[in-house]
């Protein structure tokens, strides 16, 4: 009976993984297929990667996405970690209300947030007499930071909650100055949470379509926006090629982070 159950569970998990990965595999496969019309039989060719290298629009959009995502990661992770530490380790007036206000942005549809941001930036631009300010990479970046901040605060906060404040207190009783406590106890303990949060921030930004689409001025696009536009025009396997590159890079990154997280993710003995 037990063996039968084990077999059933394994089969189930395999099916789940197929469900998750089959579309991705098919997409990646066609990135290496010669036919522009997704025709079979499969003929291995790198023609779409070559075409991608010459597709200035798509590459420019890709770089825009990468830079925005990186900038967003740095800004949102820094601000979010500081906020998480403030929430987790200090008491101050209005803390509960502020924490409660972190939830809605995650639940509100991006469409609504995107519209609100568009209207807001438009209003600001007009108010300062520079309507051009309403859209652009700077607006996209600000929108992404606002969107990813709650995620960072939650991920870092969860890590922080796993560790009792007593760790930092113990370090202080042992003679560590506040700086030594931060550097030798708080930082190593928080690091895996911060890395995970940074990854979240990067993913939220890199994936983001609605806000980028609304806030991008004509002629400036990010990768999701550009892919959307070209799909409407009828798409070629170049899209598959760039998607495959992105998947390879992000999965590689995930594996590295997973290793790091396990290394640093030891919990204190009794919780």
């Amino acid at each position: 009976m037990r063996r039968f159950l084990d077999g059933g569970i394994r089969l189930y998990l395999v099916l789940v993984l197929i469900f998750l990965y089959l579309p991705i595999l098919v997409m990646a496969l066609f990135a290496f297929n010669r036919s522009p019309l997704y025709g079979l039989p499969f003929e291995f060719d790198l023609v779409w990667f070559e075409a991608l290298a010459g597709n200035k629009r798509l590459l420019q959009a890709g770089w825009n996405s990468v830079w925005i995502a990186l900038a967003n990661t740095v800004i949102a992770t820094t601000l979010g970690t500081m906020a998480a530490v403030a929430f987790g380790r200090y008491t101050f007036r209005g803390k509960t209300l502020m924490q409660a206000l972190l939830f809605p942005p995650i639940a509100i549809p991006w469409l609504v947030i995107g519209t609100a941001m568009l209207v807001f930036f438009f209003w600001v631009g007009r108010s300062v007499g520079a309507p051009g300010m309403a859209r652009g990479l700077h607006a996209i970046l600000l929108g992404h930071v606002a969107l990813s901040l709650p995620y960072v605060i939650f991920v870092v906060g969860a890590r922080l909650n796993d560790y009792p404040k007593a760790l930092e207190e113990a370090a202080a009783t042992l003679g560590a100055t506040p700086w030594q406590v931060f550097r030798r106890v708080s930082v190593p303990i928080l690091a895996p949470g911060v890395v995970a949060a940074a990854l979240f921030a990067f993913a939220v930004s890199f994936d983001q379509f609605v806000i980028s689409y609304f806030l991008a001025p004509p002629g400036v696009t990010t990768l999701p926006v550009e892919i959307y536009t070209s799909i409407r025009k009828g798409f070629t396997p170049e899209i598959n090629a760039i998607s495959t590159i992105i998947i390879a890079v992000s999965m590689g990154l995930m594996l590295v982070v997973a290793r790091f997280y396990r290394f640093g993710g030891e919990r204190s003995g009794n919780e």
Partner: protein
Amino acid sequence: MSEVAVTGAIKRYGQVAALDGVDLTFADGEFFGLLGPSGSGKTTLLRAIAGFIALDAGEIRVDGTDIARIPVHKRNIGMVFQNYALFPHMSVAENVAFGLDVRDVPAAEIKARVAESLDLVRLSGLEARRPRQLSGGQQQRVALARALVTRPSVLLLDEPLSALDKHLRQEMQVELRRIQRQIGITTIFVTHDQEEALTLSDRVAIFNQGRVVQAGAPRAVYERPVNRFAAGFLGEANFLEGQVTALSGGEARVALVGGGELALPQGDLAAGSAVLIALRPEKISIEPGMAVGANAVAGRITAAIFSGSSLTYRVAVGERLMIVFEQNKSRAPLTEGSEVVLRWNAADNVVVAP
């Protein structure tokens, strides 16, 4: 080694006084237990001594020096936390070395003192382990070694044994006492386990609602509680209410509410005054029969609870329910419904404040 003197300590959180005028002196080398229900102020006092909490009023002096303005990391204290608070990203040796490392002690000396400290708690050989690879008792020892390696002037223990199972707890109590005696450090120990406090401490203080109800040697506090709270919190007690009817020859006669008579040493009792008597359940002998004379009452057993080495009887005496402990000696236990007489010595009647 050091003496810690607390005078007039007050700490309020909103309307609640966590410490409401506490005066206590912890003598050099003494093992002092702070005992009380949760929220009684004992942990607040410990954390104030550690420096995590600033008092609203009053002062704490260590060897005569007011420590109010000294930050935690300069107080030279050792502290063991309830869940040990071992650094999960460091090995056992690194945990113990931490306090020396942040003080820039030379590496060779660190190594020697870590070895010495681990030897003291009998954990040599586990230097390379991570805290999560240790049992609860071992983690406890690491926490103790880490707290002692810096040679602090005071050792603070915040319910250090509460996370251990009963057997291990008793073993660690013995260990704790051995280590404390060996290095002679002034130790202040917070617990809500009354037995633990009695076993370990040279002196105990019972806290309630931010105040010290009673302080003294465990035996003195147990045998002569000052009031109903102290008697009821530390061990069990029967409370008998009555009125002093006569004084003669150094002896006071007390008529109990609901019948029965006590004779007890006169002390400073006045004729006609109402008194509350605390009587420990193990001081009472229980026999089949009828009551005769003072310090004896008749009753009927309503419950006989067998717990291995001892028996607990609940006895209905008139309107009152009394509790009696008896060692499980050879005699067959008395059964529920039996008519019994309870007897005790005059000296076991302890007059307490309500």
